[in-house]
Amino acid sequence: MRTLERHRRLQDIWASERGWKGWTSSVNHTDLGRMFLVTSFFFFAVGGVLAMLIRAQLATPHSAFAGPELYSQFFTMHGTIMMFLFAIPTFEGLAIYLLPKLLGTRDLAYPRLTAYGYWCYAFGGTMLLVSMVLGIAPNGGWFMYPPLTGPIHSPGINTDFWLIGITFVEISAMAAAVEITVSVLRYRAPGMSLDKMPIFAWYALVTAIMILLGFPPLILGSVLLELERAFGLPFFQVELGGDSLLWQHLFWLFGHPEVYIIFLPAAGVISTVLPVMCRTTLLGYGWIVAAAVALAFLSFGLWVHHMFTTGIPHMGLAFFSAASTLVAVPTGVQVFAWIGTMWKGRPDLRLPMLHILGFFATFVMGGLTGVMVAVVPFDWQAHDTAFITAHLHYVLFGGFVFPILAGVYYWLPHFTGRQRFFRLGEVAFVLIFLGFHGTFLAMHWVGLLGQRRRIWTYETSDGWTAINLVSSVGGFIMAFGLAIVLIEVVLCFFVGRRMPRNAWGAGTLEWAMPTPPPNYNFASVPHIRDRDPLYANPGLPVQIARGDGYLGTPRHDWRETLTVEAARGTPDYIVVYPANTRLPIVMSAVTGLFFLSLLIKVYWFTPVALAGVAVLALRWVWVLGQRQDRGPLDAGLGVSLPHAAEVDRAPGWWGSLFLLVADAVLFGSLIFGYAFLFTVAPGWPPPAWFEFSLLELGGGVAGALAAAAGMRLAIRANRRGGSAWTGLAIAGAGALVVLLSLAALLVRTPPPSGHAYNATLFVLGGYGVLHTLIPLLMLGFLAARVSRGFVSAARRAELPIAGLWVDYMAVVAILVLAVAHLPGVAP
C-alpha cells in the first residue's frame, strides 16, 4: 500500500463528521482535546473577568461598585471557576490531546468516555454560568464551609448550584482520570517500557491517580451537604449529632492534593519543554519521576494544614507542620533538576522559555511563602489574610499558568499547523509578569498589615488604600497581557507560515506526525527503543508514514490500535474503537437532567433520569459486542495478537478496576465520616443504636459470598467451554439476598433527619443498594449476551468485568451491614 493511499484509507476510517455536527458526535481525542482546551480557556476568561471585578471593588475604600452580597458571589465564583472549570479541565484537555501522540498510539482507552466527560464538563459549567447570569451564584466562599452554607444560614438556591454543578463537572474529572490511568499504563507503542515513557506521561499518570484518590472525598462531602440542605439529614449540624469540622476534613482531603493535581501537569509541561528549549535531554529523569510520586504521597498527608486554626491537638499540629515542610523537598528536587538541565544544555530565550523563567521566579517565591505558612505560629497570624491569597496565587499562577502558557506556545504550531506571525507573545509576557508581581507582591504586604481575605470593603483609616490601588492596577495590566495572548492564539489559527515538521527540534513522538495532526495520529504504530525516539532515529516520521510499523494496513473499517503489557511494553492485544456517535452527548444530557431535577427540586423526575442513564449505559456497552471468534489477528512486523473481546483483562476490566478504586475511596471517606462523628462530634452517642438482627446480617453476608463465588464459577465454566448459566444464577440470587438485607437496613433505620447517626446509616444503606443494583444490572446484561451468542470460551472478556463489580458489591455489603448492626450488639 502506498503512503498516500494508506493516509486516505485511514482518514476515511477515522474522520469526524464535518462542521458543527462533528463536535457533537466526535469521539476522537484530538477533537475533544481541542474542545476541552477552548472551553477551559473560555472559563479562564470568565474567572479573569471576575478577578477584575474583585480588584475594581477593592481599589478604593468604601467602593460603591458592588455590595457585600454581589462581592461574595464574585470571589466564590472566581475561585470555583479557576479551580474546577479552568485548572483541572486544562490538564484534562492537554492530556487528552497529547497523551496518545506522546505514547505512540491512535487514541485514548475509551473514546466515548472522553466525549461523555467533555459534555458533562460543558453542561455542568453552563449550569454555574446560568446561576451567575441570574445573580444567584454560590456565595459561601469556594470552600463552602458549613454551617454558613447549610440550610439554616444559606436557604437560597445559590449553594445548591455549587454542590450539584460541581459534582456534575467532577464526573468529567473522574472519567478523564480513569481514562488517563488506563491509557498510560496500557495504550503505548510497543517497546515503550515504563522507563522509556515521555516524562509528561509519568506526570499525567501520577496526576490521574491523585484525582482518583483525591476527588471522591469532595464528591462525598458535596452529596452529604446537599442531602442536609434538601432533606434535612444533619451531617454538619451540631445540635443533631453532626459536626461542621467533618466538612473541613473531607474538603481538604480533596483540597490539598488538588494543589498538586494542578501543579504536577504543569511540571510535566516544564519537564517536556525545558530540555527542548535548552537543546538537551532532561537531567535526572528517574529522580523526577520519584519526586512526582513522593509529592503525590506526601500531599495526602497534608490536608490538616489548612485547619491549623481550628483547634487541632498539639501533636497533630507538629506532625502536619513537619509533613508540610517536607513537601518542599521533592519540589526542590524537581526545580534543581530543571536548573541542572539548563546548565547541561544551552538555553535559548524563545517564547516558551520566557514563560518558564516566569514560572521559576514566581513559583520559587510562592514555595518560600508556603514554607513560611507551614510554620504554625506564622500561620496563626497569616491565616485568612490577603497574605494567603497572595501565596496561593504565586503557587497557582506561578506553578500552573506560566507553565501552561509555555506549553500553549510550545504546542501551538502542533494545534494549528502554523507558526506565530505577529510577535505579540513577548509583549504579552512582559505585561503578565510585571502585572502579576505588582498585584500579588502588594497583596502579601497588605495581608501582613492585617487585611483579611474576602472583606468587601475597608476603611480609609486602615491605611491600605495605596497598596490596594497598586494591586488593582497590576491586576489590570496582567489582564491586558492575557488578552493579548488570547488574540495571538486565535490569530495563529488563521494567519501564519506553515509549520515545518518538528520546528522546535524535539525528541518526542508527537512531532513525528504532520501538523495539524490527522485523526489517526500514526499511519503505523512505531516500535520504540529510546526515551527520545526522534533524537535516536530522525527518519522515524517517514518510516511511520510508510507503514513500517504495527497495524500499517487498515483492516475492514476498524479504528484499530494495540495495547501493551504495562511495565515492559510488549504487545498484548488489538483494540477496535467505536466510531463517531452521539451517545455520549445524549447520555451526558440525561445525566444533566438528573442533576437539574435535584437542583430545582422536581424529585419525581430524578428516578426517571436515572433509569434513562442506565438504559443508555446498557446501550453503550451492548454495541461493542462480537458474535464470532476472530482468533489471532495480524498486527504487522510479524506479530499476531488477539482481539480485545478474546482476553481475560479487556480495557473494560482495567477501567472498572480504577473506577472502583475511586469508588472505594468514596466509601472509605464515608466510613471515615462515620468514625469521625462517632468519636469527635459533641452530640454522640445517638439516642438509640440500630437494632441488631442476626438474620439480616447473616443473610446479607452469606448472599455476598455466594454472589462472589457464583461469578467465579461462571467465569471458570465458560472458559472450559461449559455453560455460565449456573454461576450467573447463583450470583444473581446472592445479589438479590444482599439487596433484601440492605433494603431492610434502609427501612429499619430511624428517621434520618433526626440524628447524624441515622443519616449516616441511611447513606451507607443507600450506597450499598446502589452498588447492588449495578452488578444486578450487569448480570442481567450478561444473561442477555450469553443467550444472544455474544459470549464463547474465547470471547470471554465481559464476564470478569461483571465479576469485579460483584466482588466490590460483596465487600461493600459486608462492611455496611457490619458497621450498621454491630454497634447495637453491646450497648
Binding site: E69, S72, G141, Y145, P147, L148, H153, V238, E239, S244, L245, T280, L283, G284, W287, T309, T310, G311, H314, L317, A318, S321, T325, L326, V329, G332, V333, Q334, V335, F336, A337, I339, G340, M342, W343, K344, G345, P347, L357, F360, V364, M365, L368, V371, M372, V375, V376, P377, F378, W380, Q381, H383, D384, T385, R452, R454, I455, W456, P682, G683
Partner: protein, 180 residues
C-alpha cells in the same frame, strides 16, 4: 524568615541566570543529591525546629495568675464573659488585665468565626459545638483591634471587636463594675 527566603530566592535565580552564560557541571550528583535533597532538608529541619519551639511557647500553660474569659461569636458580633465577674457580659469589647496571661475560650452559636487580635496572638476558630482555648497576653495597657477572620456572610467585613487591656487598678475597677 524573610531574609532567609530572600537569600534562597537570590540563589535560585542566580543559578538560572548563570545557566545562560556558561555550561557547567550537568551531573545528577551535584544538582539532585546536593541542591535538590541535602540543601532543602537542612534548611527545613532548622525551620521546623524553630517553628515548633516558638509554637510550644505560645501554648496555654497552667499558672496561678491566668485569667479565664469566654468569647462567643455570632453573625456579626462577639459576646465576652468573665470567670472573675460572673454574670457580666460585654458586647464587642473584651476587657483583660495587662501583663497577665489570659485564656480565651472561644465558641459560636451560629456559623464558623475566628477570634483574632493580631497584636496579642494568632487566630483560633470558633466552631459550633466545640470550645477552643487561645492564650493571649497584652504587655501594655491599651486598646487593641480584633476581628473575626473567617468569612461568615454579608456582615463579615464589619465583624470586628476591641480588646481593652487595663492596668491592675483598672482591672479591679472593671471587676467591681466600674468601666463597662
Amino acid at each position: 524568615m524573610l531574609a532567609g527566603a530572600g537569600a534562597i530566592l537570590a540563589l535560585v535565580l542566580g543559578l538560572i541566570a548563570l545557566a545562560f552564560t556558561r555550561t557547567g557541571p550537568g551531573t545528577e550528583r551535584v544538582w539532585i543529591a546536593g541542591m535538590g535533597l541535602a540543601f532543602p532538608l537542612t534548611v527545613l529541619a532548622a525551620l521546623l525546629a524553630y517553628g515548633l519551639f516558638v509554637g510550644e511557647r505560645l501554648l496555654p500553660r497552667q499558672g496561678a495568675d491566668v485569667v479565664s474569659v469566654q468569647a462567643e461569636g455570632r453573625q456579626w458580633a462577639w459576646s465576652f464573659a468573665y470567670d472573675d465577674a460572673p454574670g457580666v457580659v460585654t458586647e464587642d469589647v473584651l476587657h483583660i488585665p495587662a501583663g497577665r496571661p489570659v485564656d480565651v475560650a472561644i465558641t459560636t452559636v451560629d456559623v464558623i468565626h475566628s477570634f483574632w487580635v493580631p497584636r496579642l496572638a494568632g487566630k483560633l476558630d470558633a466552631i459550633p459545638g466545640h470550645v477552643n482555648v487561645l492564650r493571649i497576653e497584652a504587655d501594655q495597657p491599651g486598646r487593641y483591634r480584633g476581628a473575626s477572620a473567617e468569612f461568615s456572610g454579608e456582615g463579615y467585613a464589619d465583624h470586628e471587636f476591641e480588646v481593652i487591656a487595663h492596668d491592675a487598678a483598672g482591672w479591679d475597677q472593671f471587676l467591681r463594675g466600674g468601666t463597662r
